[in-house]
């Protein structure tokens, strides 16, 4: 089940043969002082339009490093990223990123934050105002458009960050444990809404998490990375991605299949803390 593509749940998929993004045999070695750390070894993966890929793995296995390479923040020691046939080397507007920390510009209102990428692209003022308003509506923040980030709660800021990434209309959105800092309840509602947005926009999403349940409740495909060196341990289509559309989340969670799948994935994530 190596590179097979999960069902795209939202729409017919005419171009199975042309992946949006290709990770080709990515290697990464950090050189710190006189020591070498092999952070990633031979990561290959195709990402298609509409894919929602969740990446699981123990702390330090290289998840963030992989995301940085995908984003163009860092270059791989070996291997390359191909987006629609072109090599991707520098950060650009095609690849959107949502960080664990909301990372909004604190001096811009929520509205202006969402408009930022449009301003960079020299979209006329009227148009970008409208676009930003639409995305704020989507993340249910219209009422807070004119506030500064520090006036909002953590969950609201994270939603604004998602709206900002979406407004830019990137080919893919990369997310690095975006809900990691939120409390359990806020987190659940954020998950629900991310699914809704993804269904509406049919963007490709590359989502890092260390919460197995979160991966099962969101993704179409799950990658499990393991450490030393970071490599793909498991690459499986999410068996629940179909039923998430039809059934109550609560029922899925209570099902035996779900609990067992969860235990299976947890057991696959090795190399946790050595101590204790």
């Amino acid at each position: 089940m190596n590179t097979s593509h999960a069902l795209n749940l939202m729409k017919p998929d005419p171009s199975k043969s042309a992946p949006l993004i290709q990770l080709k045999n990515i290697h990464l070695t950090y050189q710190s002082n006189n020591k070498k750390v092999e952070a990633l070894r031979g990561i290959s993966q195709d990402i298609y339009e509409g894919d929602f890929i969740c990446v699981l793995g123990p702390s330090g296995c290289g998840k963030t490093s992989l995301l940085k390479i995908l984003a163009g923040y860092q270059s791989a020691t070996q291997g390359e990223i191909i987006i629609e046939g072109h090599k991707h080397v520098k950060p650009n507007a095609e690849v959107g990123v949502v960080f664990q920390h909301p990372n909004l510009f604190p001096w811009l209102t929520i509205q202006k934050n969402v408009e930022f990428s449009l301003k960079m692209a020299r979209v006329p003022k009227m148009v970008r105002r409208k676009t930003a308003a639409d995305f704020l509506e989507m993340v249910e923040l219209s009422k807070f458009a004119n506030m500064l980030p520090h006036e909002l709660s953590g969950g609201m800021k994270q939603r604004a960050a998602i709206a900002r990434a979406l407004a830019n209309d990137p080919k893919i959105i990369l997310m690095d444990e975006p809900f990691g800092a939120l409390d359990a309840l806020t987190r659940e509602s954020m998950q629900e809404h991310l699914r809704k947005i993804w269904q509406k926009t049919n963007k490709s999403i590359f989502f890092i998490t260390h919460d197995v349940e979160e991966a099962l409740l969101l993704s179409t495909r799950i990658l499990v990375l393991n450490a030393n060196p970071g490599r793909i341990e498991e690459n499986i289509a999410n068996p629940f991605s179909q039923s998430l559309l039809t059934k109550e989340i609560r029922d899925i969670r209570l099902s035996n299949d779900f609990v067992e799948m969860k235990e299976f994935l947890v057991s696959k994530i090795k190399g946790g803390p050595a101590e204790w």
Binding site: A93, S117, K119, M120, S153
Partner: protein, 286 residues
């Protein structure tokens, strides 16, 4: 329901009833006269009383410690008649013109240079040795050289003040840029920012909180250099007034000059703090 918005600006739109109004007044009063403010007022008053008593008792010579009355009289005198042919207002204005010219020049040069230095370690390496070298130099040590090079007019004075303001501003800009989280720069690039846009739209505003700290340090240091700047060939300026008064051992004028300078400095600092509060509302709030 969770209080999701941490701070919602509230406007009282309906007219308060008389009862509410008096309650409001009481609250406003309590907010203005906090215990801390009252203590501060008290300790200033205590010093003042001590001063009055000591000078009443004539324990020390008037030249050593002029009485509050004498200082007040001197103040009224220079307020009405000016000091040495120039009105008090003009003395203050002359000093402020020097200060602000220098400060303005420092802001428009040190900040861009500092931002670029902060961004590029290579440029920083080229500039830093000079800044680090001249920064701790006493202005009086090189003032003579400035006068030889630039003459006795306002130029040399303004350059002296400019140099005093330059280093703190430059350093704050550099440290401001260094403190920007890498994610913010990366994030901006992922949103399609070009190099120039990165500087003007992301790096500059990111540094604003640090820059304001730098502004306050800079104005403080420039201010302490003011008297030195007015030592040579000046015949006006509040610093010159104090220097001139000390030539004639006019302690009353020295006192009033110092009090005016202290209050002015507090005013300037307050103005910058207010600007900061208006322009950088997010400071310290993450």
């Amino acid at each position: 329901m969770k209080a999701d918005v941490q701070k919602t600006p509230k406007l009282v739109s309906s007219d308060p009833t008389p009862n509410e109004r008096s309650a409001n007044l009481k609250i406003v009063f309590q907010q203005i006269f906090t215990t801390e403010r009252l203590i501060s007022l008290g300790s200033v008053a205590a010093l003042f009383i001590l001063w009055t008593v000591v000078s009443k008792l004539q324990v020390v010579d008037d030249m050593f410690l002029p009485s509050p009355a004498a200082v007040w009289a001197a103040f009224l005198d220079i307020l009405q008649n000016g000091y040495k042919g120039t009105s008090l207002f003009m003395h203050i204005a002359e000093s402020m013109i020097r200060l602000f010219s220098a400060f303005f020049l420092a802001v428009v040069t040190a900040i861009p240079l500092g931002l670029i230095s902060g961004y590029s370690p290579k440029i920083r390496a080229a500039i830093d040795p000079f800044i680090e070298f001249y920064r701790p130099l006493p202005p009086l040590a090189y003032y003579t050289l400035l006068v030889i090079w630039l003459g006795i007019e306002n130029e040399s004075k303004i350059v002296l003040l400019y140099l005093a303001a330059f280093a703190p501003l430059y350093i704050s800009a550099v440290s401001g840029v260094k403190q920007i989280p890498a994610d913010r720069i990366h994030g901006a690039l992922s949103l399609g920012a070009s190099k120039p846009a990165l500087f003007t739209q992301v790096i500059f505003p990111s540094c604003l909180p640090e820059l304001f700290t730098g502004l306050r340090t800079a104005i403080g240091f420039t201010y302490t250099t003011l008297v030195a700047a007015e030592m040579v060939a000046a015949a006006s300026g509040i610093g010159w007034m104090v220097l001139d008064a000390s030539k004639f051992l006019r302690s009353d004028i020295i006192f009033i000059g110092i009090i005016i300078m202290g209050l002015l400095a507090m005013l300037l600092d307050g103005a910058i703090r207010y600007l900061e509060y208006r322009l950088v509302p997010w400071k310290g709030k993450n």
